[in-house]
Symmetry: C2
Subunit: 448 residues, 2 copies
């Protein structure tokens, strides 16, 4: 992470074209720091920076950048240079970057690349970016089962520069089907003459190329693997996904969950690169649905307009009451959607979840209800205070109940519970909360 001050310092060096100063910085800053800086500069500034730092470091910086950002830089370079840069980048990252270019730019750059490297990128491009196939790299080490342990080490030494990880070596048959895996660790500790088939772990954990990237990340985490082999339907080894992809996958999926809980559709691109138009398209759908649902509140209030006109003191507390319902619902649903998301809560848990959330809803409802009774009772009289206080308690309980049940019910009927956003619960509770308010007002004010 770079601070704003560092950024200012760099901007000044750029403005004064202090190339020596920028070069001096390369000792202090790694590729991820540079990526962090480049992301914040405009095109002209980026051009100056890229001229001033050693050419060999540029591919690493592009790997660390968001693909959309890296593609924007490639677009500014001559085609031949862009091709050379892509060749020096890990193929999985290069694939993500090239996917951000127009079809025309993409083809022209691929043609300018070495045929072998271009072919790798074309292979990887066949899988959507959020699948295991889209995440994998073909830069793995594979050997046949009759290779000896010492020869395997010699082979590793030769490919160490190219491979993404040499900590695992995969064993494949003549048709490239996955047979087993060996760790470097195993290889080093084995007698030199042993064939690898004797020491490999057979039938290793693998993932299909069309599986969700989240499935692959979960396997890497749950099974404590450094790399996970990716295969096609016929079990041919296509690539590997490594530990360092896990953080990226989790970050991407988590960001989607955040956007959903706030009531948007996921952006699919980093916020910086989302145009205002894209943001509008991702947000307006839910807003209009919630708008229509919100119209129910005006129908409830119109239905009870006589009661409200008869006791106008009830009107000022309408926003307070539905606000409380929204707040309790928002707390409950974010906690619960997250607990479902990390696999902590399932459908079979609905019993205790509901019991716990209803207890919590009742408790916070009673506390706020008493505060409301006193706060409203003093100026308005304790009849109105009682109506408001009792309504607050009921609305809090109701809101917690709805927020606890709805995500689990959706999961049951096969809808991703992540669509239950805080705004959805709030809007749902708005109309029903008003019904509770008007009903309690009818009961208590007619009775007393």
């Amino acid at each position: 992470m770079t601070t704003d001050e560092q950024l200012d310092e760099i901007r000044e060096l750029i403005a004064t074209r202090e190339e020596l100063g920028i070069r001096g910085l390369t000792d202090r800053l790694g590729p991820s720091d540079w990526a962090d800086i480049v992301m914040r500069l405009d095109d002209d500034e980026v051009a100056v920076v890229l001229e001033s730092i050693p050419a060999a470091e540029i591919p690493e910086i592009l790997e660390e950048l968001d693909p959309a950002n890296a593609a924007a830089i490639l677009r500014l370079r001559p085609r031949e240079e862009a091709a050379d840069l892509l060749e020096a980048i890990d193929p999985d990252d290069a694939t993500d970057i090239i996917a951000e270019l127009s079809t025309e730019d993409r083809e022209q750059i691929l043609v300018a690349m070495e045929p072998e490297e271009a072919a790798e990128i074309r292979l990887l491009s066949a899988y959507p970016p959020d699948t295991a196939g889209g995440r994998m790299t073909p830069a793995f080490v594979a050997i046949s089962p009759d290779v000896r342990a010492d020869d395997a080490i010699v082979l590793l030494r030769r490919v160490a520069e190219e491979a993404e990880t040499i900590y695992y070596v995969y064993v494949i048959d003549a048709e490239e089907r996955l047979l087993g895996v060996l760790s470097l660790h195993n290889l080093v500790l084995t007698r030199p003459q042993t064939p690898v088939s004797a020491v490999m772990v057979g039938d290793p954990i693998r993932v299909r190329a069309d599986a969700d990237q989240e499935t692959a990340a979960n396997l890497l985490v749950d099974k404590n693997l450094l790399a996970l082999p990716v295969v096609d339907e016929q079990d041919h080894l296509l690539g590997i996904i490594t530990q360092d992809d896990v953080a990226d996958v989790i970050e991407e999926e988590t960001t989607e969950d955040f956007e959903r809980i706030g009531g948007s559709q996921p952006l699919d691109v980093p916020y910086r690169f989302a145009s205002a138009g894209l943001l509008v398209r991702r947000r307006i759908g839910w807003l209009l649905i919630l708008f229509v649902a919100g119209l129910l509140t005006s129908q409830v209030l119109e239905h009870y307009s006589d009661r409200l006109q008869g006791v106008p003191a009830l009107i000022p507390y309408i926003p307070l009451i539905i606000g409380i319902g929204g707040n309790v619902g928002s707390q409950t649903v974010t906690t619960l959607v997250r607990a479902i998301g990390v696999g902590e809560v399932r459908l079979s848990d609905v019993g205790w979840v509901l019991a716990k959330e209803m207890a919590v809803g009742l408790a916070v409802g009673l506390i706020m209800g008493i505060v409301g009774y006193l706060r409203v009772g003093f100026p308005e009289g304790f009849q109105i205070g009682l109506v408001v206080g009792a309504t607050i308690a009921c609305v809090a309980l109701w809101s917690a109940t709805v927020a606890a049940v709805l995500p689990l019910v959706l999961e049951q009927i096969g809808i991703d519970p992540a669509v239950v956003s805080a705004p959805l619960i709030s809007t749902f509770v708005d109309a029903t909360g008003l019904l509770i308010y008007m009903t309690i007002a009818g009961l208590l004010l007619l009775q007393l």
Copy 2:
């Protein structure tokens, strides 16, 4: 991940005391699957399962469980057995588990453990669990700089069972200060007689034991490390944090962010283990603050009670209007707090962020405003329709603006922007939205 059906199958095996059946499952299920199952069983069922699966697998299952859950299981075992189990668990996990026990249980188990293993746990317990020191394991491999490469490999072979990772070997001086790091990779590729000091990478990236665990996780991810050394103020090597901790750290921190954006204080324990009392304590604080802020809405409405009584047709649209403000604010603030959280947006970005969000707020406001104008205009007359439609557009713009500025302003004055929850924005916009509504009604209805 286990499905509910698998759980039912296991429950049935337990009920019929089908020990052979449970044993049969151990071939199919790994430690993380068992952890997933054990988490969902009650105490009696857990006791049956633990009797039926091979004793050697139990420590691994405890490592995969949440520490609170693992501690609950230890509490049910005789003290000597609990001590043996903890000795077989990685010291960093054992430390987290024992921290969940009462001081008395903790001391009795530590006394029953081998002195060396107990000492390791006591050392690790000195650091809070959310720091680098609390996450580290002392199970690293360290050698002095004059050791030869081949002797280092022999040493590795000896400790391979005990160490958490043998992919890195650390080089320390006589006072145990960190001098350098060697990858297994380097060692294997080096001539046997070379002293490690000649091939090590000097001055490796490290983290202080009192640093935040998130700092350590970010370093592991950004620098693509398999392990990160943890040192004290005098640069003595205390332990390492490995790649497999990264996913846990990210998950923990993300869950906290979720709870905050929903308007709760973070629970600090998994949802399953949070009692209703704890949930109430974590939620009631913000609820009461928002309640008091919400009282402003009733003051606004009381202030304008004449205007509302004069045009009662305005009343039914109050919840709709403030609901729209809340929805737009919630969308904006969740997206933005997340973008700040992953380091994509900083204070220096306030200009373009504000411009983008205001454009989006205006666009969605105009769309919803036109819908509102037509929908309300037909039954109520187009004067009221115009008031409602214009208010919706202004409230959406205002809400997007507040939600975009507030997190960045808080970051500026040193408050974590994660405290800006969706409920906070909604509540803030409720009162101001009503002011906008009443002002527009005053202007348009007096004028027309």
